[in-house]
Amino acid sequence: MKKLINNPDNVVDEMIEGYVKAYPQYVKRLSDNKRSLVTAKETREGKVGVLIGGGSGHEPAFMGYVGDGMADGVAVGNIFASPPPDPILEVTRAIDKGAGVVYVYGNYAGDVMNFGMAAELADLEYGTKVGMVLVTDDIASAPKKESEKRRGIAGEFFVTKAAGAAAEKGYSLEDVVRVAKKANHLTRTMGVGLTPCSLPQTGKPSFELEDNEMEIGLGHHGEPGMEKGELQPADQVAERLVNEILADMPVENGEKVAVLVNGLGSTTRMELYIMFRRVEQILSEKGIEIHRSYVGDYSTSLEMGGCSVTLIKLDNELIELVNHPADCPMYVQK
């Protein structure tokens, strides 16, 4: 494990420091908690606040998605560990413009407990209305009949996009929650891992694979996946992922989707485009229309090798929200 870092104990704080210095036009730290970041622009009174967050190690998620048309603030945790309630609460207070705050976060035991505690405290201590949107897009993490147990992975990008665009368009708290839940409900992701990542503090690989193996349906934190399998050509991997997604969420001929082919960290864009090529072929064979595509590193697991494919099925309301412009440090859409 070779990393360009200083003391492994300080990586999160130093990362945030560098990030904030790099994008002063976009984000600032709250004075109360150095892991609480909010948009540098003054947000409108009466606008619903959108709060994201989770463990670090997924950069550009989550802090890269604070900006116009996306989130208003982010709470940053230790690597692969939910932030505690404090920074969530600080961000909540800072971005509440009188219309309440929506939390968008992945369905992990830690996040559920910490965001839940923060929401309770926000209500109790400041009377802030908080809406909760759990992201559960990872089809490999639980069978369909227990879909409420599924974890959140790369699809959180689309859920955040829906919430952020809706909030900017002036939707009420209830409506932001509604469209974000709808986006989550219509989003499915599955991934494969080729090489592990390692935590700066342990230096140990998150899983072990032979040279000819891949981990199918792995988690977002180097958690082992559903199964190990022989490394397949990109086309077959794409087929496996898309077919599992479509089996879980049928999309009819003529329906529209947005596609995200997400790199997990060390996989080249060359490979991601090659994966996308096959994804597009499969969808167009089925008459499914790709409304918009996203290919790149949107949510990583440190330097893990591999990728995930996400589909979100779009109705007219979601199309409008996907088309809505965004201006964040790590994602700008005109």
Binding site: P84, D86, T202, K204, S206, G219, G222, P224
Partner: protein
């Protein structure tokens, strides 16, 4: 047995040390079925408590306050899954110790009842879900029944630690149902749960402390 605020702080310091010693081991267990950070997380949290022990808590005599500060410090430092779980344990336990600087055997039992019920409340895990509850729940049951029968806290806690250890070992044969490892299904079999292990370490550290107090 007389258990003072100083003893409570000694217990916390013992946990600090035992977590530091077992940092790699706990991460290794988590690497097999989770995201590999459990030792790191415990170390970060307990080191933060250690800082408090060296400063703010140095002269603190209120066992309730000590537990509140321990719980809040741990939570703020780590977040994660174990942050809310162990923090809730300490915060619920703090109510039992409120305003007290010397603790009776009964209060110690009540503390652990509150602690463990707090963990269960927060996490909603059941026995057999392959979590720290598999250590804590049997320990609690043993502690309660033994203490009721014998009124000997040290002996009862010794039995509780053994029951917790058995519970911890049992997680090896369990399918994970909660937390990150639950997606693994069959592949989680054979691996001991990291949180069940850290919970056992905390119980043993308490027993070590009690034992040295007792024998002095």
């Amino acid at each position: 047995m007389k258990f003072t605020a100083e003893d409570l702080k000694t217990f916390l310091k013992n946990v600090v040390d035992v977590m530091e010693e077992n940092k790699d081991y706990l991460s290794e267990l988590d690497r097999k079925i989770g995201d590999g950070d459990h030792g790191v997380t415990m170390s970060i949290g307990w080191q933060a408590i250690n800082e408090k022990l060296k400063e703010e808590l140095k002269t603190e005599k209120d066992c309730g306050k000590i537990c509140i500060i321990a719980g809040r410090t741990f939570l703020s430092a780590v977040g994660s899954s174990v942050g809310p779980l162990y923090a809730t344990g300490f915060l619920r336990g703090a109510k039992v110790f409120h305003g007290k600087s010397d603790l009776t055997d009964e209060e110690l039992v009540d503390f652990w009842v509150a602690f463990i019920e707090g963990v269960k409340d927060r996490g909603k895990a059941e026995l057999g879900d392959k979590t720290m509850v598999d250590t804590l729940q049997p320990a609690l049951e043993s502690l309660k029944s033994q203490f009721n029968q014998t009124r000997d806290f040290v002996a009862a806690f010794s039995k509780a630690v053994s029951a917790g250890e058995k519970g911890m070992m049992s997680t090896k044969d369990l399918l994970s149902k909660r937390g990150r490892s639950s997606r693994l299904g069959e592949r989680s079999l054979g691996n001991q749960d990291p949180g069940a292990t850290s919970a056992f370490l905390i119980l043993s550290a308490f027993f070590t402390t009690v034992n040295s107090v007792h024998t002095v």
